[in-house]
C-alpha cells in the first residue's frame, strides 16, 4: 500500500490541497478557524474544569495544559471524521475513475495537517508567552506527529471502509469520538487516574500520545514513557489491521458506495 501511495503521491497532494483550499475559501474567517476552535475550547476547559471543577493540571498552567492536548486531539478527531466520510463523500470519484482507494482517507489526513501546523505554531507562541523554557524535548515532536498521523489515518481508513458497507457508521462515529475524548487524558492528567484503572488508559493509544505532546512543550511534565511505548505498539497493530481490512474491502467499494 505504501508503494501505491507513493506512486499516486501527487493525487494525494492535490486532493488534500483541494480540501484545504475549499475549506479556507468557503469560510469568512478562513485560516483563523485553525486557531479559533482549539483556542475557545481551551478557554471553556480552563474555566470549567480548571476554575470550577478544580481538576489538577500537573502543575502546568491550565491554558497550556489544555491547549497542548487539544491541538493533537482536534487533528485526531477531525481526521478520523473526515477520513471516515471520505469514501462516501467522494463517491463520484470512486465510481468514475481508478486510483488506490486509500488515497481518499490519506488526503484527508494530509489536508488536516495544515490546521494542525497552524495551531501548533500558535501553541509555541503561547508557551513562550508563559515563559516556559523550550528544551530538547521539541526534537521528539516530528516523531509524535508521524505517530499521530498513522493512528488517525489507521482509524479513519477503517471507518471509511466500514462506512461504505454500513451507513450507520455516519451516526456512530461522532459518538465514538466523543467517548474517546473522555477516556483520553485531555481534561485530566494521566497521573490522576487511579492505579487500578491505569491499564484502561494504556489500552487507548491516544493516552501516551497526548501526554507526550504535553511533554514536548512542557519539559517539567513527567512523562510515563511506558505509556508512550504502548502507544507506539498499539498504533502499529491498529494501523496494520486497518490496512488489511481496507485492502480486503477495496475491490467491492465502487459497487457498494
Amino acid at each position: 500500500m505504501i508503494r501505491e501511495l507513493w506512486a499516486y503521491r501527487e493525487l494525494v497532494y492535490f486532493l488534500a490541497w483541494r480540501d484545504v483550499k475549499v475549506r479556507y475559501k468557503q469560510t469568512v474567517l478562513g485560516v483563523l478557524w485553525a486557531v479559533i476552535q482549539p483556542f475557545f475550547t481551551m478557554v471553556v476547559f480552563t474555566l470549567l474544569f480548571g476554575q470550577l471543577a478544580k481538576i489538577p493540571t500537573d502543575g502546568i498552567p491550565a491554558p497550556i495544559f489544555y491547549f497542548s492536548a487539544l491541538v493533537p486531539w482536534i487533528y485526531f478527531s477531525s481526521t478520523v471524521t473526515n477520513a471516515g466520510m471520505s469514501l462516501v463523500a467522494n463517491s463520484g470519484l470512486l465510481t468514475k475513475i481508478y486510483f488506490p482507494r486509500v488515497i481518499l482517507p490519506a488526503a484527508a489526513a494530509l489536508g488536516n495537517l495544515m490546521d494542525f501546523l497552524i495551531s501548533s505554531v500558535f501553541l509555541v507562541g503561547f508557551v513562550v508567552y508563559y515563559r516556559i523554557p523550550l528544551g530538547l524535548n521539541l526534537l521528539l515532536w516530528p516523531a509524535l506527529v508521524v505517530l499521530l498521523m498513522l493512528l488517525s489515518l489507521g482509524l479513519g481508513a477503517f471507518f471509511a471502509a466500514l462506512n461504505v458497507k454500513y451507513r450507520d457508521i455516519k451516526y456512530a462515529l461522532p459518538f465514538v469520538i466523543q467517548l474517546l475524548m473522555f477516556t483520553t487524558p485531555i481534561i485530566y492528567p494521566a497521573s490522576m487516574v487511579p492505579e487500578r484503572f491505569q491499564w484502561l488508559l494504556a489500552l487507548n493509544p491516544l493516552s501516551g500520545l497526548i501526554e507526550a505532546f504535553r511533554y514536548v512543550v512542557v519539559p517539567s511534565h513527567a512523562l510515563d514513557w511506558s505509556l508512550l511505548e504502548l502507544s507506539v505498539v498499539s498504533t502499529g497493530v491498529l494501523f496494520a489491521a486497518s490496512v488489511a481490512y481496507f485492502k480486503s474491502t477495496e475491490k467491492a467499494m465502487a459497487d457498494l458506495v
Binding site: R18, K21, V22, G92, I97, D168, L256
Partner: protein, 414 residues
C-alpha cells in the same frame, strides 16, 4: 503491432437487493443474532457480463454498442479497474485513461486553472505534464478569459469544454470513453471527434461506448455489440451497426404486435392489435430516448359496431409502479361509435419525460360505463434510451427517479 487489450472470459455478477445498498450495521447485527450459525441470506444476483472475451490492438478504435443495461458500462468500468470482475481476466499493456464522465472531480469553488491541475491529476497526469500542456489545454477549451474564475460561474458548456480539454491532452496508450460525444454543441462535437481521430492516427487504442451510432460509424473501425452481458457480434463497425439496427426493426414489429398478447382481460368485441411508435414526423422510430417527441399509434380491430368505446392505457415501471394513466376521455374527447373493422388512434407526446429504462404499457378499452371491459391489461414494453436531456453531459438514470421535468435552473446571488 502491439496487442493493447486482452480480455479473457470476463464475468461480473451484481448482487441485487439490500446487500448492495445502504445496509445498516444494525440490520446486519440483528440478522446475525437471528441466525447465529446460518449463512447470510442468499441474495438474488444478476450477471452484468457473462464470459466476454476480445482483444484490441494498437491503433484500433472499437465502438461498443448495445441497449440500456446490456453491460456496456459495466465492461468499461471493469476495464478501467473501477470495479472488479467476478471471474475472468483483463490485461492492458500501457497507460490507461478512462473517461467515464467529463470533468470528474471538478470542484465548483476552484478556478478553471486549479481544476485543470486537479482533474489532470485525477486522470493520472503528473503535475509536470499538466504544466507542459497547460497552454494547449486552455487553448483547446476556449475559456482562457475565465481561467482564474471559480467554475461555479461557468456555463455547463464551458465546464464541458474544459473537462474534455484536459482529457484530450492525456496521451494515454489506451483510452476508454463513455458517451461523451452525445453532449455539447456541434462545434464542440467536431472538436472531440478530431481529437479522437488524432489519437487513432498516433496509434492509440480507443474503446468507445456510444448511443450515437453515426459517431461510432465515423470513428470506429471495429464494433462490438453487447447484448444481455454477452458479446453478440464483433466485427467491422458498419456491419455491427446494421445488424444492431435491424434487431430493433424486427422486434418492433413483433414486440408491439398485440394480437397474441397473453393474459389479457375483457370480452373481446374490440381488441388492440398493434402498438406502433413513431417519430413526430410520422416515420417509425426504433430507438426512443428520454425527452424525445413520440407518437403512439394504437391499432385496433372491432368485431362489430361499438358504441361509446373508451381507449387508454396505464404506464408502469418495470417494478410495477404506476407512472401515469391516460385516455382520450380525460381530454374531453368522446368517440360516439367505432365501425367494425380496423382502425387506429394516435397519441402525440411532446416530450417523453422518463428516465432511461424499461417500462410497461397496460392498454385497455372499456365501454360505457367503464365497468364494461372489452380489452384489458394488454402488455407492451417500452424501452427508453439514455439522452443528454439537460445538454450538460450528465446523463439521467434510474437513480434520478422515474421522470424529470423540463426545467431551467437560475442562480441568483445577493
Amino acid at each position: 503491432m502491439t496487442r493493447r487489450i486482452e480480455v479473457q472470459g470476463l464475468s461480473k455478477r451484481y448482487r441485487l437487493g439490500r446487500a448492495q445498498h445502504d445496509q445498516m450495521l444494525r440490520e446486519r447485527l440483528i440478522e446475525m443474532i437471528k441466525r447465529p450459525l446460518g449463512r447470510m441470506k442468499e441474495t438474488e444476483s444478476i450477471w452484468a457480463l457473462r464470459d466476454v472475451s476480445f482483444d484490441a490492438d494498437e491503433g484500433e478504435v472499437v465502438g461498443i454498442i448495445g441497449r440500456n443495461g446490456a453491460g456496456k458500462s459495466t465492461l468499461l468500468k471493469v476495464l478501467s479497474r473501477i470495479t472488479y470482475p467476478t471471474s475472468g481476466e483483463v490485461k492492458i499493456n500501457g497507460r490507461v485513461a478512462s473517461l467515464l464522465e467529463v470533468g470528474t472531480g471538478f470542484h465548483d469553488e476552484l478556478t478553471g486553472r486549479e481544476n485543470i491541475f486537479l482533474n489532470g491529476s485525477i486522470l493520472g497526469m503528473r503535475k509536470r505534464e499538466v504544466e507542459e500542456r497547460f497552454d494547449a489545454i486552455v487553448d483547446f477549451s476556449g475559456v482562457e478569459q475565465f481561467i482564474d474564475t471559480p467554475i461555479k460561474h461557468y456555463s455547463s458548456g464551458m465546464r464541458l469544454r474544459l473537462g474534455f480539454a484536459v482529457a484530450a491532452h492525456l496521451e494515454p496508450d489506451v483510452l476508454i470513453v463513455d458517451e461523451v460525444l452525445a453532449v455539447g454543441d456541434a462545434g464542440f462535437q467536431k472538436k472531440c471527434i478530431q481529437a479522437m481521430e488524432g489519437l487513432r492516427n498516433s496509434g492509440r487504442t480507443v474503446l468507445f461506448v456510444s448511443h450515437n451510432l453515426a459517431a461510432v460509424e465515423n470513428l470506429c473501425s471495429r464494433g462490438i455489440w453487447i447484448d444481455a452481458g454477452k458479446i453478440r457480434m464483433d466485427g467491422a463497425a458498419k456491419d455491427i451497426i446494421a445488424s444492431y439496427m435491424s434487431s430493433f426493426v424486427g422486434e418492433r414489429v413483433s414486440g408491439s404486435d398485440l394480437s397474441g398478447a397473453r393474459n389479457r382481460l375483457g370480452s373481446g368485441e374490440i381488441r388492440y392489435t398493434r402498438l406502433e411508435t413513431l417519430s413526430p414526423d410520422g416515420t417509425p422510430c426504433a430507438i426512443i430516448r428520454s425527452g424525445d417527441g413520440l407518437v403512439l399509434r394504437f391499432h385496433y380491430h372491432a368485431e362489430k359496431l361499438m358504441r361509446d368505446p373508451s381507449f387508454g392505457f396505464r404506464l408502469y415501471t418495470e417494478m410495477g409502479t404506476l407512472i401515469t394513466e391516460t385516455g382520450h376521455l380525460l381530454h374531453g374527447i368522446h368517440i360516439p361509435k367505432v365501425e367494425p373493422g380496423d382502425g387506429y388512434l394516435e397519441l402525440e407526446i411532446d416530450s417523453l419525460n422518463l428516465v432511461p429504462g424499461q417500462y410497461l404499457f397496460s392498454l385497455w378499452i372499456t365501454g360505457q360505463p367503464s365497468k364494461i371491459v372489452y380489452d384489458g391489461d394488454v402488455r407492451a414494453s417500452l424501452e427508453v434510451e439514455v439522452a443528454d436531456v439537460y445538454k450538460s453531459g450528465r446523463m439521467l438514470d434510474s437513480r434520478h427517479g422515474l421522470v424529470y421535468f423540463p426545467q431551467r435552473w437560475r442562480v441568483k446571488q445577493a
